[in-house]
C-alpha cells in the first residue's frame, strides 16, 4: 500500500506544475509575441513616465528615476504573475472535466495551485525580456541595500502566494455560474489597478491610499516594489510583511471554505 508522504504528494503535483509551464512553452509563437510585446510596451512605458516627469523634480516625494524604474519592474512582474488566462478551472467546470479532477488523489486546490505556479514559471522569459529592455534604456534601479533586496524577494514570494490564492478563489465562481466573462474582466482590471501594477500607490489620490493599502491587492505588486525602492523602514517594513502574510492566510482559509461549499454544488453534465 502506497504511503502518503510529503514526497509522494509532491510527485503527484509535479505533473500539474509541468503541465502549467508547458502550456506556455508549447505555443512558441505566442511566447515570442509576448516577448516582443513586453519589449515594445516597456519602451513606451518608460517614455510616458519620463515625459510625465519633465518639469518635476519630485512628485509625492518620488523622483523620476524611481517612478520610471517602478513602472518597468511592475510591468515585468505583472507579465509573469498576472497571465490573461490565469486558471483552467472555469473551462474544466464547463466541460465537466472537473469530475475527473475531483477523483484524483490530490486535492483540487493543490492541483490548480501547482498548475498556476507552473504557468508563472513558464512566463519568466517575458519578465526577463522586459527587464533587459529596462536595463538597456537605463531605466532600472537596483535596491539600496542587500537587505532591501532580500526582503523584497521574500515580499514577492508572499505576493505570488496572494495572487495564486485570489485567482483560484475568483475562478471558483464558475461553480455557481458559467457566465463569468464579465466578472473575470472586472477582477483582472480591478486587481491590476488596485495592486499598483499600473500606478504606484504614491501617486494615487490621498483619500484612496488608506483604502487600497488595507486591501489584499496592494500586497501583490506594490508591497514588494516599495520595499525594493527602499521606501519602507523599521516598523513600516515589518508591518508590510506582516500584512502580506496575514492576507495570504486569510485568503487561503477563505479558499478552503469556498471550496467546501463548491463541492456540494458540482453536478457534472452528462453523468
Amino acid at each position: 500500500m502506497p504511503v502518503d508522504t510529503l514526497s509522494t504528494r509532491l510527485t503527484g503535483l509535479r505533473g500539474f506544475y509541468r503541465a502549467g509551464y508547458q502550456s506556455v512553452l508549447a505555443y512558441r509563437a505566442d511566447l515570442l509575441f509576448g516577448i516582443v510585446g513586453l519589449v515594445i510596451q516597456a519602451t513606451l512605458t518608460v517614455v510616458v513616465w519620463r515625459v510625465l516627469f519633465t518639469g518635476h523634480d519630485q512628485v509625492a516625494g518620488i523622483g523620476s528615476a524611481t517612478a520610471v524604474a517602478y513602472a518597468v519592474l511592475a510591468a515585468c512582474l505583472q507579465a509573469v504573475v498576472m497571465p490573461w488566462q490565469f486558471s483552467s478551472l472555469p473551462l474544466r467546470v464547463m466541460r465537466g472535466q472537473i469530475g475527473v479532477d475531483m477523483i484524483r488523489p490530490r486535492s483540487l486546490i493543490s492541483q490548480n495551485l501547482a498548475q498556476a505556479g507552473g504557468t508563472m514559471v513558464g512566463r519568466l522569459p517575458l519578465g526577463a525580456a522586459g527587464l533587459v529592455t529596462g536595463l538597456a534604456l537605463g531605466a532600472v534601479k537596483a535596491p539600496h541595500s542587500v537587505l532591501d533586496l532580500l526582503v523584497s524577494v521574500v515580499s514577492m514570494a508572499l505576493g505570488v502566494a496572494n495572487i495564486l490564492t485570489i485567482n483560484l478563489l475568483v475562478s471558483m465562481t464558475a461553480f455557481w455560474t458559467l457566465e463569468i466573462g464579465g466578472i473575470m474582466i472586472l477582477y483582472r482590471f480591478g486587481s491590476a489597478f488596485l495592486s499598483g501594477a499600473l500606478i504606484p500607490l504614491w501617486f494615487m489620490p490621498e483619500w484612496l491610499q488608506p483604502i487600497i493599502s488595507w486591501l489584499p491587492f496592494q500586497a501583490q505588486i506594490y508591497a514588494p516594489l516599495s520595499i525594493w525602492f527602499g521606501t519602507r523602514h523599521g516598523a513600516d517594513l515589518v508591518g508590510t510583511l506582516a500584512l502580506q502574510l496575514a492576507w495570504v492566510m486569510v485568503l487561503f482559509l477563505l479558499l478552503q471554505l469556498v471550496w467546501r461549499r463548491a463541492v456540494h454544488r458540482v453536478v457534472v453534465l452528462g453523468g
Binding site: L44, V48, H56, L186
Partner: protein
C-alpha cells in the same frame, strides 16, 4: 426564391446576408440577461481602467507633453469611441483562430456569402456595447471641456474621425487575422496590437520621438485612430513632424487601412487548408 436572390447585385446580396446573420447573432447573445449585463460591465471596466489611469496621473502631474487634462481626456474619449466603431460591428474577428481550428471556415466557404462577413457575424460581441457606452459617454462629456471652439464643421469632422478611427483599428485587426490562415495561432499577436492601441493611442504620440511617431503613423498606423484628427480639432498640427494636410485627411485613413486589411485577408484565404481531413 433562388432566382430572386440571383438577380440581386453582389453587394446587396452581402448586405442582405449580413442583416440576417447579425440579427441571429445579437438575438442569441441577448437571450441571457445576466451574461448580457456582466459582459457590458466587463467592456466598460476594460476600457475604463485606462481613463482611470490617465485621470489619476494627471491629477498629480497636471500636464503631459504640454497637454492638459481636459485635452488628454478628450483624446482618450475619441480613441474609446473610435474603438467602439471597430468592436461593435467587427468584434467577432477576435475568434478567427477558433473559426479556423474548429472547421467553421469549411462551412463558410460553401455558403453563398463572403467568408469575412461570416467570420465577423459568428457571434455578437456583447462586451462591445460596454465599450460603446463608455466611449460615446466619454466623448459627450469631454468634448465640451476640450479647448476646441466647436462649429458644425468640426462636429462633422469629429464624427468622420471616429468612424475612420474605428476602421483603422478594424483594418489592422483584419490584416493580422488574415495571417491566421497561415499560422496556427495569431491570438497573442492580435492581443498585442489591441493592447498597444488600448494603452498608448490616447497619448500625444509625438512624445515618442520623431521615429517613434513616424512608425506609429506609417507602419503601425495607430496615430490615425485618434491623435492625428485630435491635433486638427485642437489646433495643434504644428506639433507634427508631417505636413498638416495629412492630419486634415486623417479620417480618410480609415477606409484606406480597412481596404488594405480586407484585400490581404481575402488573399490569405487562398492559403487556407482545412484542419480536418
Amino acid at each position: 426564391m433562388a432566382e430572386q436572390v440571383k438577380t440581386l447585385s453582389p453587394i446587396r446580396e452581402d448586405l442582405r446576408a449580413s442583416r440576417i446573420l447579425l440579427r441571429a447573432g445579437w438575438r442569441a447573445a441577448m437571450s441571457y440577461r445576466i451574461s448580457f449585463l456582466s459582459a457590458i460591465l466587463g467592456g466598460m471596466v476594460l476600457q475604463g481602467t485606462q481613463l482611470l489611469f490617465i485621470g489619476v496621473l494627471l491629477a498629480k502631474f497636471n500636464v503631459i507633453d504640454g497637454w492638459r487634462l481636459n485635452d488628454i481626456a478628450f483624446l482618450f474619449g475619441m480613441r474609446l469611441a473610435a474603438h467602439a466603431f471597430y468592436v461593435v460591428p467587427f468584434g467577432a474577428l477576435l475568434s478567427i483562430d477558433q473559426a479556423i481550428q474548429q472547421g467553421d471556415v469549411d462551412r463558410y466557404l460553401l455558403r453563398p456569402a463572403g467568408t469575412y462577413l461570416q467570420v465577423i457575424t459568428r457571434y455578437a460581441p456583447l462586451m462591445a456595447l460596454g465599450d460603446a457606452l463608455l466611449g460615446f459617454g466619454a466623448v459627450a462629456v469631454f468634448a465640451p471641456q476640450a479647448s476646441v471652439d466647436w462649429t458644425p464643421g468640426k462636429v462633422v469632422f469629429l464624427i468622420a474621425a471616429l468612424v475612420g478611427g474605428g476602421l483603422v483599428e478594424t483594418g489592422m485587426q483584419t490584416f493580422l487575422a488574415g495571417l491566421s490562415f497561415r499560422m496556427t495561432s495569431t491570438m497573442s499577436l492580435r492581443i498585442l496590437a489591441d493592447d498597444t492601441i488600448t494603452r498608448f493611442s490616447g497619448y500625444p504620440l509625438t512624445m515618442f520621438s520623431r521615429w517613434g511617431f513616424l512608425s506609429l503613423t506609417f507602419i503601425f498606423p495607430m496615430a490615425f485612430i485618434a491623435y492625428l484628427p485630435a491635433t486638427v480639432l485642437l489646433g495643434r498640427t504644428d506639433d507634427l513632424p508631417i505636413p498638416a494636410w495629412l492630419a486634415y485627411l486623417s479620417p480618410a485613413g480609415g477606409p484606406v487601412v480597412f481596404a488594405i486589411g480586407l484585400v490581404f485577408f481575402n488573399r490569405m484565404i487562398r492559403s487556407y487548408t482545412s484542419p480536418g481531413s
